[in-house]
Structures are given as C-alpha cells and as structure tokens.
Symmetry: C2
Subunit: 212 residues, 2 copies
C-alpha cells in the first residue's frame, strides 16, 4: 500500500467488514453497491469511492463478490495475522473486554491480564490468568505481546503506556480517560474515550430539543 | 444555535472540555491558543477555527479565559442539565459503565440497571438497583429516562432499542455490535463499536510494519 488512504476511509472499513461478514453468514454470495448502500445506509457512490481506494473489487453489472471482498478487507485491516493482546487493569472494563469472544474470531488472542489487586491475582478469565502487575516486564520479555489494552485509572495510564512501549508493544488500546503521551515513539494508539462519546450524545440531545 | 456545525467539530469539543477541565483543576486561569495548541497537539489555527464556530470566546493578546470557555463548551455540549440514564445489560460492560464515577460529574445520573439474569436482580451498584428486564416498561413510564445504554448481546439490542424509543427515551448509547435501526425515529444514537476500534488498531499496526 504505497498510496495515502485517509483515516476517514480506514475508519469506515471495519463497518464494511462487519456487514460483509453478516452477509456471508446469511449465505449471500454477491451484492451490488446499490443493495449494499441500502443495507449500510450510505450512498452507493460513497461505497464505490471507499472501495476504489483499495483497487475496487467490483465488476460492472455483477456487483461485489462478498467472500472475496470480505477477505480482502480483512487483509487490509491486518486481520489475517494473529495479534497477542494483554489487558492491564482487570476491573469490570478489563473483564468485559476479556470476555468479548468476538475478538478471537478477528485474530486477537488474549494472553494475560494484569492487576494490582491481590484478590484478583491467580483468577482465570476464559482460561487466561490475572497476574500481578510486577510480572508485566518479565511476561512481555518472554512472550510476544503485540497489543496492550489499558483499562486502568487515568493516573496510572501514562506510566504503564511508557513501560509497555519500552517492552516492545506495537499498539495501545487506551480506555483511560487521558491522551497518552507516547505517540511520537512510533506506537499505534487507539483511544476509546467513553465520556467523550457520552458528551457527543449529550450535545445531540440538546440540538434535537432545540430543533423540536 | 442556528448555524450548521459539522459533526467533526462537535467530535472535538469533548476533548477541549476535558483539557480545559484539567487546566481549571490545575488553577490555570487563562491560556493562549498557542499554549493550548502545544498541550492538545493540534494546530493553533485549528483551535481558533473550532472555537469560532461557537462565537470565538478568545480575545486578541489575552488568550482564552479557561473558566468561561469551559462553561460555554459545557453549555454547548448540553452538560448543564442532568440526564437520567439507564443501563440495559448488567454484565461486565454494564457494570464498568455503572461504576464510571466521572459520569456523575458530567450530569449523567444512573437511575436503574436491567438484566435477564435472576442472580443479578436486586443487587445494587453504587446504590442503584439491578431490576428484571420485565420492569423496563413500567420503570420508563414512571421515571423520566433520557438515555438508555445498551450493553447487551447483539441479538437483543434492536428489539430493546425499539422498546425504549417507544417509551420516550431521547438517546441510545449503543455498545452492542450492531447498527441500530431506529435513527429515523428522531432519537440520538451514539455507537461504541469496540471491535471496529480494534480493527482500526490492527490496520495501523499492519501499516506501521510495512513502513518500517
């Protein structure tokens, strides 16, 4: 991929992948951009433009081959390789993520959880052990860890982020309510800021009530 | 607000609110767009443009009054009024959200949780009861519920979404891995699709490794 693809397009790819996966499960073998457009509630021209970024995949008068498109988007999204993931912070949010089975299907393999709470240490979530945070260094040195999900308090997030980056983690999936200061080190950061999302929702409620 | 403001600008507002809140807590009374730019790692011109959408707030040579700007953005985001929120699905993710104290500070008041699991019914989370899903109708009729957070399996999300919309809920905070089909009914939908976020992260790992 030597062509620049905007993050806006990339952000839409997982949604395509999700819909195509559902079509596959329903036994649909091909779909026109028009039908995909109705299903996904985006314009057919948007779909054509988005998919053209990756070389198209569609054939005039035939539509898209669902299986092929699903696999190609999977490749683009890097889902053809397995990613080892650790979760730092085994509170409710960490456990929610650990229990989210879907991740397995997408090639994300949970290899360890870490926490500071002695009561949690040694418990297993889907067969994966919760370890003391003191073992984080050794574990990362002895295991190939690709992704660290940070589901811990804001005050601890930045130091743990720096720690896992030093240990060679390629990406951080950050749930802490803070923008991590490690982006310059060539590490991928993906933020899930729940309260930002809730504020967005609040704005749209206020806007709706003005328009009423 | 009679002017059209793009969702892209709105999406950045919670982040301003977050940074301004932290500045306030640190006792900072005013800040130039240049300093805010360095702190937030966006260009000063972006900041000026964004805030100009709402009338500016800045004064040449003085900078922004942090308290004033914080309050004005809070008003824009609808955070000056209290929103009653229910959580449907009291699994780990539902509990994680219920325990997220920060929401109180932003004016979101948790009034009930609902679940189908008899073992959970009657338990209290931060003083708020988990109720059987059968009580959802009555509860919503007898209490002003503004927002329903859906932290339940994909298969049930759409029917519960339609149910709460009929009951007058203004907004849905959707964590189920599905695009809800209720947007046309004038209800605000805010999605948190965790696996979309993880796929985005996977894409960026793949892209980084190609660039290396």
């Amino acid at each position: 991929m030597d062509k620049y693809i905007s993050q806006a397009v990339i952000r839409r790819m997982p949604r395509y992948y999700r819909y195509l996966g559902e079509l596959l499960e329903s036994g649909v073998e091909r779909i026109s951009s028009g039908d995909l457009s109705k299903l996904m509630k985006v314009t057919a021209s948007q779909i054509r433009q988005d998919l053209n970024n990756f070389g198209g995949f569609g054939q005039q008068g035939y539509g898209y081959n669902v299986q092929y498109l699903y696999e190609e988007i999977g490749k683009i999204l890097g889902l053809t390789q397995t990613h080892n993931i650790i979760i730092v912070g085994a509170g409710n949010l960490g456990l929610a993520i650990a229990n989210y089975m879907k991740f397995d299907k997408l090639g994300f393999k949970l290899v360890a959880l870490f926490d500071v709470n002695p009561e949690l240490i040694g418990q297993k979530i889907r067969g994966v052990e919760i370890r003391p945070i003191e073992e984080l260094d050794d574990f990362c040195k002895n295991n190939a860890v690709d992704i660290a999900a940070l589901t811990l308090p804001k005050a601890d997030a930045d130091s743990v982020a720096h720690q896992v980056v030093k240990l060679g983690v390629k990406a951080i999936w950050n749930f802490a309510h803070v923008d991590l200061d490690v982006a310059t080190e060539g590490v991928v950061i993906e933020n899930v800021h729940l309260s930002d999302s809730l504020m967005q929702l609040s704005y749209n409620i206020a806007k709706n009530s003005i328009e009423d």
